[in-house]
Structures are given as structure tokens and as C-alpha cells.
């Protein structure tokens, strides 16, 4: 190992001396490669269990482990609840009462299979999976940090992800496109858009003398972390500062992996024909021409006030600054030039100083003009269409190992290479091109020990509520070992054998008896296996924030199923508006579309702004898009209750839900109750529930108040 590495380095760098030599300590780290997840999965035999409960190979593995404990699985969920669970799960949306009724009534042997196939073929399937993948890659529509500017073209990556799941793109292709679409399929717009994966993380962009090398290092750290988390299921960035404390990853490995991205830079690459480009540019020019006269008028209103402020500030200048300023430019000494420049900046005014001075009628005129300008901007033509992706530089800068990750403390240079602990490493080209392609092809090779395991584990978790490896992004030694290693390996090998077919694995899980179990409570089993590692029942799952919002809109009948396109801003609370950072004039920080039906789009299409999170969504554990989120948290606290009871969003949905019920039932209370329960819970109300509601109405409770209570009810908020 030592010799091979050194020779490789010498050849690549042309160095006389080996640039990196493995120490004894390094070799000890690498010896950890016998860890299970670094060995390729071996396909186990499916346990032979003759039991009608076994519908799929999955069931055989689970039942075997349950029988070892002399436990039996939980009974199957009743049909109405089953269709509610699977429809929410697969589409993120509720089943319609007609769908529930049809499924409950369908006595054919393959009724459930037909349901599964219908749901897997729906567009909503891709939207639901899209959200999961966007969580993993910490997708957002803005850069983060103080300016947090919009990424105008990022949404095309979001749409690409949704479409890929809808079309059941083979996962190996999906992986390759995101890592190296530009290298492997040059000229292919979709593959180029896919490389937005590498730019999905936050990026610090700000003015002034920032440390460019540090900024670049952060970009590379984000790219490397993304690959580690999303595809490898390893905490590569633990090795940024030192050899990994638990896994067979050297600090050199980390920087060799980083070197694979050293030649890649973020670029908004146009994806239009010359004619389209010309048309888009012409439209932009025309728009600017429309706005210019308004801008000029605003400037004209401000000018006298600005000038007056300047004159006043001039009087306050210390004599040396004033003297320098008064001297003709060409006569100023070097020192006076500096003083004059300082004097200029001392006499400048900030926007608020100027605005606070403007009196009527100028004040109102200016406000009206700015409003007019913002209105025009709402209708601004889109920029020239581009992929928010990456492209290669002319030459890749040399990558160094950095002492404690500090870009100022460069140690040995390293070549681009794959982590040493893996047996099936491939050569990574030394030149700038093809590095990412090599990485992608290595990851997507059938023998790769991690890529398939990590993805089948994600599919499993998304349906079952917990992964076979519970630490979704960490298959290393600090992560948890798989609860069912053989099942994991069987699924991983099946996945690859089926051509990396996501839907096939998904379908098998959904068809399994394990998936169809009820969420029974059992004191003894809960004591022995509180985390349900044996899958003796269904996991408790609360709707995530997006599902909750989408369901409220579906319930009220307002959901706008329009798909794709630029992200949507929804109305926000004034308190939240105040928290948007700006040093500029705080008007028009959150421009809203004139088309209010846009506000009822699915949550995946809402603007995901890193520093401005929608309060109800964060209260329900929406991740902050700063680091990979492989699995949503599910916390319970009072602020959730406040937003789901009192926010304008919740209150408005309750009103619209009530209006919908009145629309279909008139004043017929029994019909209203029945319909409400059918829509919200996929079932009819029980007699006790009817009595409770009737009493509520007799006491003066309104229908919209009943609707609000229903929207807050545990049964509604949790998956069956």
C-alpha cells in the first residue's frame, strides 16, 4: 500500500520524494476496513418460511427474526386505514373518499397491488420522493448567510429530482448525472442541471476583502460532505482535520476525495438556443426600459435631500478633511487625496438618513413610485434559462492536506483519488477532466459496498419509519449496525440486479406484510424492544411539515397541483418579515405573486430560503437546509399547537374546509360530519364522535371551529 501510493504520487506530481507516506498510525486506521459496510454485500438466501404472512422475501427475513424471539407480527391494518397510510406515504396527500370507498369495496385478490401500482405511477410519488432527496442534499433556493441571495436557477435541479423519481430513473444513472453529468453526457441539459447537486449546499457570498482561498475551501468541503452523506453514507468530513476516529478513512483520503472536485466550479450555464437567448435578453432590456423612468424620478426626488445632507455634513468635517476636499483634484497631494476620499465617505448618507428627511408631498410620491417599480418587477421577464450546475476549470489547482482543516496550513499535496480502504478502487485521471466521472462510475459499480446499501436503506426508512441501519448517513463504526444485516444485503443486491430500480424495491416494501402491520401497543414488547428494531409493529409517524401543510390545503379543497417552475413565495407573518435581514430599505423584501392560487401550491414548490423559515414549518421540524437531513425529527411542543391553532394559515384553512363542507352538504349537519371525517381521517365518524360534535354545535360551536379542531387532532396529524 505504502509503495503503491507513493509511486502514484510521484508519477502524478513529478516529485522526487513521496509526498505522502503512510505511518503506522495510518495503517492502523486503514485496518478498520474489515468493518461490515466496507465489504461488498453478499446475497443471502431468503429464509424458507412457509407462512401465509410471508408475501415478499422481506417478510421472510422479518418473520424469521420475530420467531427467534417467539414473537408474532401485529395484525394487518384495516383497509380504510391502510389506504390512508399508503396514500400519505407514497404521495404525501390524502386519499379521496371515493378512493377509500373503492378500495374498501374491492374484493379482488390483487386489490392492494392495484392500489400500490396506481400510487407508484402518480406524479405525486415523485414529489414526495423529491422532498426526501432534497432533504438529503440540503437543497434550498438561496445561498444562506447574511445576504442569502436567491439562486435564480436552482429550481431546475428540484424539478429534475422530482422528474427522475417520477420516471423511475435507474439510481446508478441518477447518481452519475448528479456527480458528473457535464462530463459523462456533455451537451445534455438534464445531466447538466443534475450537477446542481454539487452546489446545493450553503455558500458564503459577501462583499469586501474576504479570504478567497477560505471561501473556496468551504465550497469544496460542502461538495465533499454531500458525496459522503448522500451516496457513501460515511462522515467523510470527520477526516477533514485528522484521521477518522472510527472509520478507515485517513485525512489524506478526505483531501484526495476533495481533489476530485478541485477542478469543478459552480456555473450558471445557459441551456437555450441562440434565438431563445436573444428573445429573453430583449425582453429583459424592454423591462429595464420600462423601469428606468421610475427609477430616475425616485432619484430626482431624493437628490435635493441627499445634497442638503451632504452640505450639512460638509460643515461638520474636521478642517483637514474639508481643506483637502476644497482643493482642486489635480492639486491634491497623496495625503490629501486620501483625506478627500475620507471626506467624501464621511459626507455620504445612508438610505434611511435620506428617507427620514423627505417631507410631503415628496414622501408620498416616492412611496407610490417605489410601489409602481415593485409592481413592474413582479412582472419582470425570467432571466436567460440556465442550469445551476458545475463545469470544469482549465486546470485543477493542486490540493493539499490541510492541517486541522485550515487552508493557511498546507501539508503534503495529494492527487485526486478514492478512499484507500475500499478494495474496488479505480484510477482517477490526474487531469482536470474525468475526475468526477471516475468517482461516479466507482460509486455506481455493482460491487460498491455502500452505494446500493445506503439507497435501499433510505427507501426502507421512508416507508417503515426507521432504517435497517438507523443512522441513515453513517454506515461507519459510530453508526448503528443494521438491525437485519441479511435483509439489507438481500435488498442491496436485489436493487443492483434489478438495474438499480428504485420503484421495484419501493413496491416490494409497500406490498410486504411488514409494511401493512398496524401500530399496536404491547407493554411487554415495548419494554423489550422499545425502538421496534424487530419491526413487530408499524412505527409511529407524524406528518412532516410539508405533508401537514399540503394536507391542510387538500382538506380545504384549495390545493393547487400545478407542478414545477420557479419557487413560490407565500404570504408571511409581519413578525417574520421584520426578521428578514437587510441594511437597505426594507420594502419589497418578500414580493408576492398577484395570482393567489400560487399560495396553495405543494410545499415542495415554495421558496426555500435558508434564513427565512416559515414558522409553522420549522415548528414541525422542517430541516434548515444547512446539513444533510436523512430523516425528519418529530418533536412535540407548545409552539406547534399555537401555529396549528392560531396562525392565519391554519385559521384560513379551517374556514375554507367549513365552506367546502357547506358547499357539498348545505346545512345538513350529519352530512357535514360524515364528509369531514371522510376527508380528514378516511373513515366515517363513530357515534361517540357524532355526539361530541353535536354537543359542540348545540353549545354554539361553529363548523369552522369544529374543522380547526379536526385539523389539530392526533389522528389527523399522525399516519395510521
Amino acid at each position: 500500500m505504502r509503495r503503491a501510493l507513493s509511486l502514484g504520487l510521484i508519477a502524478w506530481l513529478g516529485f522526487a520524494e513521496p509526498a505522502a507516506v503512510l505511518t503506522k498510525a495510518d495503517e492502523k486506521v486503514l485496518a478498520r476496513k474489515s468493518w461490515w459496510s466496507f465489504r461488498p454485500p453478499v446475497r443471502p438466501a431468503v429464509p424458507a418460511i412457509a407462512d401465509p404472512w410471508v408475501r415478499t422475501p422481506i417478510d421472510a427475513f422479518i418473520l424469521k427474526s420475530l420467531r427467534e424471539k417467539s414473537w408474532s407480527p401485529s395484525p394487518e391494518l384495516p383497509r380504510a386505514q391502510l389506504i390512508r397510510r399508503i396514500t400519505l406515504d407514497v404521495t404525501g396527500l390524502p386519499p379521496t373518499p371515493a378512493e377509500v370507498e373503492a378500495f374498501v369495496a374491492d374484493r379482488s385478490a390483487n386489490a392492494y397491488e392495484k392500489l400500490v401500482d396506481r400510487l407508484l405511477a402518480s406524479d405525486a410519488y415523485g414529489e414526495r420522493w423529491g422532498q426526501k432527496w432534497l432533504d438529503v442534499v440540503r437543497y434550498a433556493d438561496t445561498n444562506g448567510f447574511e445576504l442569502d441571495l436567491d439562486r435564480t436557477h436552482a429550481w431546475r435541479y428540484r424539478d429534475y429530482v422530482i422528474k427522475s423519481f417520477q420516471q423511475n430513473k435507474p439510481y446508478d444513472r441518477f447518481l452519475k448525472e448528479q456527480l458528473a453529468g457535464d462530463e459523462i453526457w456533455p451537451g445534455n441539459h438534464e445531466a447538466l442541471v443534475a450537477t446542481g447537486f454539487l452546489r446545493a449546499g450553503p455558500e458564503h457570498l459577501v462583499g469586501g476583502n474576504t479570504d478567497k482561498e477560505m471561501d473556496r475551501q468551504e465550497v469544496l468541503v460542502e461538495m465533499t460532505a454531500a458525496v459522503g452523506g448522500a451516496f457513501l453514507g460515511l462522515t467523510m468530513n470527520c477526516a477533514r482535520c485528522h484521521n477518522h476516529k472510527f472509520d478507515p478513512i485517513l485525512q489524506a483520503d478526505y483531501y484526495q476525495l476533495q481533489a476530485i472536485f478541485a477542478g469543478a466550479k459552480g456555473a450558471d450555464v445557459p441551456i437555450v438556443t441562440p434565438a431563445e437567448k436573444a428573445a429573453a435578453e430583449a425582453a429583459i432590456k424592454a423591462h429595464e426600459a420600462r423601469v428606468k423612468p421610475i427609477k430616475d424620478q425616485i432619484a430626482a426626488i431624493e437628490k435635493p435631500y441627499r445634497d442638503k445632507l451632504k452640505a450639512e455634513k460638509r460643515l461638520l468635517l474636521e478642517p483637514k478633511f474639508l481643506a483637502a476636499l476644497d482643493k482642486p483634484k489635480e492639486q491634491r497631494s497623496e495625503e490629501e487625496k486620501v483625506l478627500a476620499k475620507n471626506a467624501e465617505s464621511q459626507t455620504n448618507s445612508t438610505w434611511d438618513e435620506v428617507v427620514n428627511r423627505i417631507g410631503e408631498p415628496d414622501k408620498s410620491r416616492r412611496i407610490a413610485l417605489r410601489r409602481q417599480m415593485h409592481e413592474l418587477d413582479l412582472a419582470a421577464p425570467p432571466p436567460v434559462a440556465a442550469a445551476y450546475g458545475v463545469e470544469n476549470m482549465e486546470q485543477a489547482p493542486v490540493t493539499h492536506i490541510l492541517k486541522v482543516g485550515d487552508h493557511k496550513m498546507k501539508l503534503a499535496p495529494v492527487p485526486p483519488a478514492l478512499p484507500m480502504a475500499f478494495a474496488n478502487r479505480v484510477e482517477v485521471p490526474a487531469g482536470v477532466a474525468g475526475r468526477r466521472k471516475a468517482l461516479a462510475e466507482w460509486l455506481a459499480s455493482p460491487e460498491h459496498p455502500l452505494a446500493a446499501r445506503v439507497m435501499v436503506n433510505r427507501i426502507w426508512q421512508s416507508r417503515m419509519g426507521a432504517g435497517l441501519v438507523r443512522t441513515m448517513n453513517d454506515f461507519g463504526a459510530l453508526g448503528e449496525r443494521p438491525t437485519h444485516p441479511q435483509l439489507l444485503d438481500w435488498l442491496a443486491t436485489e436493487f443492483v440486479a434489478k438495474g438499480w430500480d428504485v420503484k421495484a424495491i419501493d413496491r416490494m416494501i409497500l406490498l410486504s406484510s411488514v409494511y401493512r402491520q398496524a401500530r399496536t401497543l404491547n407493554a411487554e414488547k415495548m419494554k423489550t424492544d422499545p425502538d421496534n428494531k424487530l419491526y413487530w409493529r408499524a412505527h409511529r409517524r407524524r406528518m412532516d411539515s410539508e405533508m401537514l401543510r399540503d394536507n391542510l390545503l387538500a382538506l380545504s379543497g384549495e390545493l393547487n397541483r400545478k407542478a414545477g417552475g420557479p419557487p413560490v413565495r407565500v404570504p408571511i407573518e409581519p413578525e417574520l418579515y421584520e426578521l428578514i435581514f437587510t441594511e437597505a430599505e426594507p420594502d419589497n423584501l418578500w414580493p408576492l405573486s398577484k395570482d393567489t392560487t400560487e399560495f396553495s401550491r405543494r410545499s415542495i414548490y415554495l421558496l426555500n430560503k435558508r434564513t427565512v423559515r416559515l414558522p409553522m414549518m420549522t415548528n414541525f421540524d422542517q430541516p434548515d437546509a444547512m446539513s444533510s437531513c436523512p430523516q425528519r425529527a418529530s418533536s412535540t411542543h407548545a409552539l406547534q399547537s399555537l401555529s396549528l391553532m392560531n396562525s392565519a394559515f391554519a385559521q384560513d384553512r379551517a374556514k375554507a374546509f367549513a365552506a367546502r363542507l357547506e358547499g357539498s352538504c348545505g346545512k345538513n349537519q350529519a352530512c357535514q360530519l360524515k364528509t369531514a371525517y371522510q376527508l380528514a381521517m378516511a373513515r366515517t365518524p363513530r357515534s361517540a364522535e357524532i355526539a361530541l360534535a353535536e354537543k359542540f354545535f348545540v353549545q354554539g360551536g361553529k363548523l369552522e371551529e369544529f374543522c380547526l379542531a379536526l385539523m389539530n387532532r392526533n389522528e389527523f396529524v399522525y399516519l395510521p
Binding site: 443512522t471 426578521l579 435581514f581
Partner: protein
């Protein structure tokens, strides 16, 4: 803290007919209910927790001066600057580049005089006529440093230990470690400047990868202190709707199900918060003398003083951690004096000096200062060289923050900067030491306070800091 996190009046209601039936059939009943309540309690992530060891401080008020006050004009006197006024920084310092200047601008001496105050003789500039009276309770640390010359990353560094966005903030770690002593107010309260948010924005009080329950809650003065607090419905209508909801939720609850119990309880807590939060912001019970102590009777101090008085009222009611910002929004309402240092600092100190002194005095007279840690600080300090002739650019290399209360030994200054106030010399303290020290004051061991996130045991102090032991008595 009430004896049960589960509201008392819910207990009889929770024994639904279903439970009684189940009780008779399966031997549950009262026993099952008790276990349900215990589970609701254990499921409450904000239940008070024991610290790792006995800490003097029980709670924190962190006063954050947005935009960075200048250390050599406030608490770290540098007479040498007078001597070098208008000259360049000695070449021995090397190249000192900041966000907007390159180190070539001349030295600017402080426009203010420094004097010694108190028994301890601590040096304070003329900017703080009130706070200078409290120096015997204040411990200055003059050689803190952060890792960025840019506001937002440096703010993240002070708030969360990293220059990156997205890590849990100090207050999140504290409530994660200690829970809350209030069951009807947020555990972690944030009060920004009304004119706008600090440059780092809401991630400054975010919970990062910690559960959302640990994020800071913005608290405002006025009738609606917390977002979504107030129901648009009439109170009787709201209560009736809530009762309906709770009855339905009890139908869904089962004795073994702690999560359902916790959810039922969260609605009652929310309802209680609707009365307790407006009660907290109601100052009508405060004496004129107290209001005057905080500067509520003067225009320039009224707003900030009001927030500090509110802070005292909140900690009295069990709030664990309060983050208060002086400055935010337009540059003219920040401490970011790139030009017009004199005008800027006079304005910002004028707004905060009396209220902060009032807070310290008030806490002390009520016996609250003993177990309340008060921190004053910022994302960095400022350079000894000038910018625009009469301002200063950012300096993360050595700057002052101070502590008071919560077991802190007042009347001392720890650490120092060089003769120009540019770099910390001798013992310099990174943010991880700052954080380790705050956790220590609260009885929390930085190494025991961790959270597993994506395969790593994440800690506030990352690689670990050193507690600045000298801070404590």
C-alpha cells in the same frame, strides 16, 4: 415548575369512559393513567434536567451588541494610540487586512477619556457613566478572538461555535442541557432590535440539528409577544374548540402512548402561554423607581430598557436563556462604526448604558444576580487604525466581552491586547473557551453535552475549549 407537566385539570378528563372500560377489563385504570402522565412528563423535551455538576448560574441573559463596539473606546484603554495618532501602525505588526481596509490607514486615538471606577479600579471610558458604577460586579475578558472579519460568520462563531450557519446556538444547547423552569413560557427567548435583525439573521438563534423545540422564540413587547400566540377567536370560543380537540385527542390516546399524552399536554401549555406571556410584558405592576432605573422615563433608553426589564420579568418566571440584541437593520442602528465612530458610539451607548446598569443593579437588589449570568459582547471588536478618517474597521483578533453574576468574580480584567488593542497577547481566548466557560457557569460539562448528528457527536465547543477559571470567584 409545577409538580406535573401534565395540567392538573386534565387528569380527571383523561380518565375517559374508554379508560375506565379498559381498566375493568385489563386491570389498567388509575395505574395506567399514572404511567401515561409519567410518560407525558418524560416525553417533554423541556422538562428541567439536572446539570452535570452544581453550577452557580441557573440562567443566562446575553446582551449582544450588533455590529461590534470598539474595545479601545469602551473597556480596554490604549493610551499608546494618542502617541501614534495619525501615524501608520508599526511595521512589526505586518499586514493587517480587514473587511474594508488593508491596514495602511493611520492610527485613530480614542475620542473618549478613560477613568478608573469602583473598589476594583476597573478602567471604563466616558461612554458609560452608568455602567461604570457597576464594575465591581463585572469581569472583563479582553483577549477574546473570533475567526472571521465578516459580521455574519463571526456572529455565528459567537452564537454557535462555528463560522458557518446552521449549528445549534448557545441558548439551544443550554435548554437542551438544562430544560426549562417555566412550563408556560418559552425556554429560550430572543429580543431583536425593533428596527431589524442582526446580520446573521434568524440562524443566530436557530437550533441547527437539535430538535426544533430548542430554537429561540422571538419575544416582542405589546399585546402579542409571540407569533401565533393570540387566537383570532373570542376566548370562550377558543376554549370550547380546544376542549373539543382535547376530548377527541383523548379518544386517540392509549395508556402506553407517551407521545399522544405529550401532544395533549402541549395544547394546554400553549393555552396557558396565551395568558402568561402577555402578563410578562405588562409592566403596570413595576414601580416608577424600577422603570426609571432601566431608563423607561427617557426617550433614548426607553426601548432597550423596556426589553431589559422584560428580561428580568422573564427570568423571574423561569425562562432559561435570553438573547437580547442592541442594534440591527439599517447601519445607522448598529455598532458598526466604519465612519463617524464618535457619533455612532455615543448614540449606541446612550441607548444601552443606563438600561444595562439598571439591569445589573435591579438583579442584584432582588438577589437574582447570584444565579443569573449576564454576558455583554459582540462578534468582534474594532481596529486601532482609522477607516474613512473617523471610523474603524472590524477586528476579530482581540476584543473585550464581560460577564457579571452567576458566580462570576467581578472587578477584574482577564487577558490583554497589545499596546494598540489590535491583537490579544499572552493568553488569548477563542470562542470555544468562551462557550466552555458559560456552560461551566451553568454546571454543564462541555464534553458531556453532545448530540449525535450524521455520525458525529456534535458539541458546542467542537474540539473542546478550556474553561476560563479565573472568571469565577
Amino acid at each position: 415548575m409545577s409538580s406535573s407537566i401534565f395540567p392538573k385539570h386534565l387528569i380527571p378528563a383523561a380518565i375517559s369512559r374508554r379508560d375506565v372500560l379498559r381498566g375493568s377489563a385489563h386491570g389498567f385504570g388509575a395505574l395506567a393513567l399514572q404511567s401515561m402522565l409519567a410518560q407525558a412528563k418524560s416525553a417533554n423535551p423541556l422538562a428541567p434536567k439536572q446539570p452535570h455538576f452544581a453550577g452557580k448560574a441557573k440562567r443566562v441573559i446575553f446582551l449582544f451588541m450588533v455590529g461590534a463596539p470598539s474595545q479601545m473606546d469602551t473597556f480596554d484603554p490604549k493610551p499608546m494610540l494618542k502617541k501614534f495618532e495619525g501615524q501608520k501602525l508599526p511595521a512589526s505588526f505586518g499586514k493587517v487586512s480587514s473587511q474594508f481596509t488593508d491596514g495602511s490607514t493611520p492610527i485613530l486615538s480614542s475620542p473618549w477619556n478613560f477613568k478608573q471606577y469602583g473598589q476594583s479600579g476597573m478602567w471604563v471610558s466616558d461612554l458609560f457613566p452608568h455602567l461604570s458604577q457597576c464594575v465591581d460586579d463585572m469581569c472583563f475578558v479582553r483577549s477574546f478572538h473570533t475567526d472571521s472579519v465578516v459580521h455574519a460568520p463571526a456572529m455565528y462563531h459567537v452564537h454557535s461555535g462555528r463560522i458557518l450557519m446552521g449549528f445549534p446556538s448557545l441558548g439551544s444547547w443550554v435548554t437542551y442541557g438544562l430544560g426549562s423552569e417555566s412550563d408556560n413560557l418559552p425556554a429560550y427567548v430572543v429580543m431583536p432590535q425593533p428596527e431589524g435583525t442582526p446580520e446573521g439573521g434568524t440562524p443566530c438563534w436557530g437550533s441547527g440539528f437539535l430538535p426544533a423545540v430548542h430554537q429561540g422564540t422571538v419575544f416582542r413587547s405589546g399585546a402579542n409577544p409571540i407569533m401565533h400566540l393570540k387566537s383570532p377567536m373570542a376566548p370562550d370560543r377558543q376554549r370550547r374548540t380546544l376542549d373539543l380537540l382535547q376530548k377527541m385527542n383523548q379518544m386517540d390516546a392509549e395508556p402506553l402512548d407517551s407521545e399522544m399524552a405529550a401532544r395533549i399536554s402541549s395544547y394546554e401549555l400553549a393555552f396557558k402561554m396565551q395568558t402568561s406571556a402577555p402578563e410578562a410584558v405588562d409592566f403596570s405592576g413595576e414601580s416608577a423607581a424600577t422603570k426609571s432605573l432601566y431608563g423607561l422615563d427617557e426617550d433614548r433608553t426607553r426601548e432597550f430598557g423596556g426589553r431589559l426589564l422584560l428580561a428580568r420579568r422573564l427570568i423571574e418566571r423561569g425562562v432559561r436563556y435570553i438573547q437580547i440584541y442592541s442594534g440591527g437593520g439599517p447601519v445607522s442602528i448598529q455598532w458598526d462604526a466604519h465612519s463617524h465612530l464618535k457619533k455612532n458610539h455615543e448614540k449606541m451607548c446612550g441607548m444601552t448604558d443606563k438600561p444595562i446598569a439598571g439591569l445589573l443593579k435591579d438583579l442584584k437588589s432582588r438577589g437574582l444576580l447570584e444565579d443569573t449570568l449576564v454576558i455583554w459582547g459582540s462578534e468582534f471588536g474594532r481596529l486601532p487604525m482609522s477607516e474613512s478618517g473617523n471610523g474603524r474597521d472590524h477586528n476579530p483578533h482581540g476584543f473585550t466581552m464581560w460577564f457579571a453574576g452567576g458566580g462570576v468574580k467581578g472587578g477584574q480584567a482577564i487577558g490583554e491586547t497589545d499596546d494598540f488593542g489590535l491583537y490579544g497577547v499572552g493568553q488569548r481566548y477563542p470562542m470555544r473557551d468562551f462557550h466552555a466557560t458559560i456552560l461551566h457557569a451553568l454546571g454543564l460539562d462541555q464534553n458531556q453535552l453532545w448530540y449525535l448528528h450524521n455520525g458525529r457527536n456534535e458539541k458546542l465547543t467542537d474540539f473542546g475549549g478550556s474553561v476560563i477559571k479565573e472568571v469565577f470567584a
